[in-house]
Symmetry: D2
Subunit: 344 residues, 4 copies
Amino acid sequence: VPVAVLGATGTVGQRFVALLADHPSFELVRLCASERTAGKPYGEVVRWALAEPLPARAARLVVEAPEPGSAPEPLVLSALDAAVAGPLETAFAEAGALVVTNASAHRMDPDVPLVVPEVNPEHLELVAERPAGRGAILANPNCSAIGLALALAPIERAYGLDRAHVATLQALSGAGLPGVPALAIADNVIPFIRGEEEKLEREPRKILGRLAGERIEEHPLVVSAQCTRVGISDGHTALVSFATRRSATREGLHDALASFRGEPQERRLPSAPARPIVVHEAEDAPQPRLHRELERGMAVSVGRLRPCPLLGWKMVVLSHNTLRGAAGGALLVAELAHARGLVR
Amino acid sequence: VPVAVLGATGTVGQRFVALLADHPSFELVRLCASERTAGKPYGEVVRWALAEPLPARAARLVVEAPEPGSAPEPLVLSALDAAVAGPLETAFAEAGALVVTNASAHRMDPDVPLVVPEVNPEHLELVAERPAGRGAILANPNCSAIGLALALAPIERAYGLDRAHVATLQALSGAGLPGVPALAIADNVIPFIRGEEEKLEREPRKILGRLAGERIEEHPLVVSAQCTRVGISDGHTALVSFATRRSATREGLHDALASFRGEPQERRLPSAPARPIVVHEAEDAPQPRLHRELERGMAVSVGRLRPCPLLGWKMVVLSHNTLRGAAGGALLVAELAHARGLVR
Amino acid sequence: VPVAVLGATGTVGQRFVALLADHPSFELVRLCASERTAGKPYGEVVRWALAEPLPARAARLVVEAPEPGSAPEPLVLSALDAAVAGPLETAFAEAGALVVTNASAHRMDPDVPLVVPEVNPEHLELVAERPAGRGAILANPNCSAIGLALALAPIERAYGLDRAHVATLQALSGAGLPGVPALAIADNVIPFIRGEEEKLEREPRKILGRLAGERIEEHPLVVSAQCTRVGISDGHTALVSFATRRSATREGLHDALASFRGEPQERRLPSAPARPIVVHEAEDAPQPRLHRELERGMAVSVGRLRPCPLLGWKMVVLSHNTLRGAAGGALLVAELAHARGLVR
Amino acid sequence: VPVAVLGATGTVGQRFVALLADHPSFELVRLCASERTAGKPYGEVVRWALAEPLPARAARLVVEAPEPGSAPEPLVLSALDAAVAGPLETAFAEAGALVVTNASAHRMDPDVPLVVPEVNPEHLELVAERPAGRGAILANPNCSAIGLALALAPIERAYGLDRAHVATLQALSGAGLPGVPALAIADNVIPFIRGEEEKLEREPRKILGRLAGERIEEHPLVVSAQCTRVGISDGHTALVSFATRRSATREGLHDALASFRGEPQERRLPSAPARPIVVHEAEDAPQPRLHRELERGMAVSVGRLRPCPLLGWKMVVLSHNTLRGAAGGALLVAELAHARGLVR
């Protein structure tokens, strides 16, 4: 399947390029970025910021402006800035592409599935019945919401979820490039990320929601979020307290989390982690530097499962924000859509 | 008043030495540290780690082993390690000293006041009636509990407190020296601090408790805490959600916090901040590097006061963990005790 | 003396504002910044990034565009970006102001003194004989060059200087705001700062040069520089190896450094440090976090003075890059010019 | 070949364990660590600090005290602390083992080869003629010296080396665990590493030395070193200035570096990097976070090759200090010794 990447020079765009390098089903054929860089080879305009080398084939691709034209690639992965993503992604979808986007613009649109492949693959049915020549948009959730939704899903299934409090310590790569000025975060913590708490309080309700005909009925879960930025490169940590509807035990929660599998595992999708959730028993785990790369960055780590005097249970959830939480997660959505025959 | 400092070479001990350098009422006359360093001038054995210079007089004091002898100084400030603090502090108190301690050993003892001077100065009455020649122990709370108790106290007075959830991002100096290995925290967050959550869930109940005759009746407040270590030098950030008993407004909470004053301000104690709580309106305040030094590190900063869908209200609380949260806080307790005539 | 500050919202501009708050001779009356911010109170447009509070009077000043008009303030402190500083500073000087600039645009102009007040105050004579109504430009050297020149000056006087090798570890504040993206420096070192090595190899020759009539004869010293950026907030560290013309001893070097004084100390200028150079004997000093604030950030710290198998001697030099190395240094130049009657 | 690891719980020891997990020629059969941990499974006593998971087989090995016994493994990899390494390594060698050590104790012993496999493989001949039943010690150089020697070797061959100045910015993992206290390096640089400058000035002379009969004749190269610790996890950066005996060109130096190959590449040793030296052309490369992992951490990166006004040429050299600079380098020495028939 030929694939185009929009917003290819940013931190998430670079991850897309790296992940597509040796992909068994997808072939990267087009890289789009801002007007300023269009017309030059990708290798010349990108400030490559990953430890793995820039793939040679991608380096030679000439960057194009992000316009769909008459016959866009059937699959488009978008890492566009929120500020410009909305209309551009709509244009690509209207021109026939299946757009899997990491941007927030369309996430809460009623006709756009907001998908964590292990959690709500059935939401893809929203876009299954589309006219010939017509594309669609699939949204990858917010980087913190993905980890949270993955960790809450097995608990919801086993015990029902009522309320959750989540406090996050989010990595710098989540703000993209240039992102946070280094001087602003040196020896510091920034207890505010614009729009993040709203997303974290809203998106899990849609992800955990129920497909009801042609719409998603949101889950009634109440989430309260407090989000902070800390000076680390990758890996979002979430401190989660939650209340279940039915009485839970530590062993039951542990087993529900550790045994959780979904459609990506069943279908053995190329980017699917063998274990979507890794449960840690060490008293000081999970930690970003030690555990963010588990299962090639596609596993969510859960640790410190223990009682909470307020809501019932507490746990620590860690996920790699530019892999599972962005490019890797979106690619898994694309693979799932492909496996379900939605890429045409 | 002649003063001895126990545990003088650690991070909190060094802060005591710095704060006592030009104190109007207290004179540093004795420095005690481990056997290994006893007998040598303080300036030779301490690995001074503060940006302000080591006071010359203190540098010349010969370090002694921490033994009370027959006539200890009337005031003893303890920065001993928790592992050894218990019996040593008891020995000094039995020998006649008023011991103000930063260690956790005696904090929950029924006859030991656990004091934040602006919040519960009346708890000092617990030790007012003591036999001649007999000392007592006054405890400074846990570094995170002080900031939390200060920020909650005006809310409790104005609206009553029911429940609170607190997630902390704590600085490295809180772990002392050698403390956390640098390699363990490089590009990392550690979501565990031994014993910290228990202290943060328990101590505010005693601090906000009611003096009932010769005991403290704990406040029924339920706190749930999640504590993490982040790689910054000083300044603990707490993300607090809370429920009040009576309905509150943002303006009412803001005013209660901003106008809060206590006995240290009335008595104009030397270490008392003019404003114990500084309320910030900037959307991304407070931040450790920018605000930890306010009021010479003795103010607690509160910001981001906003509704919480779960408990009613959220806020961010910042305090300097080795000043207000340790040495400065303990010194203020000592000044309050001195002003109330308890140092004999 | 009424003073205007150009580029008032950047990191160095903010330092100017803070330093002028209670200045005995200078009164801050005008703040200039980009067109975008002009017309609004400074307190509304600046993103204040210092730990000390924004002075209330400055907060109320309405920001103006950087235009000299017909009668500029007699003293102008410039923290403009290099990209725009050149013509704007010239315009202010032509309109009559004495401009003390931190920008690099005019540093190597033959009629512009490049001044470290303790080192080459006599270079100010270059601008002493100017026509009525005509201003002049005085340049503050590069942040790393100031510390290097201060540390080398007493050695030059005592033994003569021949060659020096300097490797720097420079702080984030030296890049201003937004400056270095946090993600670029997280768990990283960047071994390149544009233009920095050239400045460090060139400027000391002019600073240590000899006033010969109406021009400066550069010192023949050969400097080789390698500059890196490290992820700390403030404080540039320089690893210096040097060869003297005449044979030196460790004691002689130590004494030359420790006893160094200059015109700012003789004149007791308000911003002058009592000791321009603090010599450290601890084997691991100086360190940015511990020593950058010495003498209110105006002292240069020198440590680890020891033999070098290649050039003769090695030492470590530390200076606060936005105080001594920028705003504080420029203010000291202004005070020196004022004391010498050059502000008219 | 059965292999034992000494000092298995430290940072370098853990790297040995990870690298041996799937080794084609070596099988990890024994893990030795301090008395305190002996008798327990490795998985229980090690505080695993690598991002890759602890190999399951190693986790089950019962830790032993570091004693050779009568029949030690033929190959012993030592990551012992310098304080205890000397006599223990001698004991293992006397009992018959070939000990490849990362410790400094024996590096300058006249009968111990100090080996960088691409640079001086012929030095192994020093231990080729040994009596039956008798082992030997092979030393891996200091972590910074390896990168320096690798980068200097092709220059020495092409142009001859005369003098070099090297300033390092060294990572935290170089200090092991617990190593540097986090509070000591927070927002800080430490311009001192005990013994490091001496090693860096001395070891390259032996590595680049000439095998003359039964001894190594040191190379007359004069090196001056200044070493600092910076707060990053892995990757030592060295700023190198050097003088060649014969006149060099940039192109000639570039080609000598980029085309450099040695015996490990010819023999295709399992841990040998395809390119021992990667030359970078980007103006701000190499950088630790981006380039330390090149060739599985076994390549040295060289960048910013440019003229030096003092010595002729400057460059920036980066190497992964616990892979190429420690465990990976020592393993490559062991593989070379094995290929040459020295493991018996």
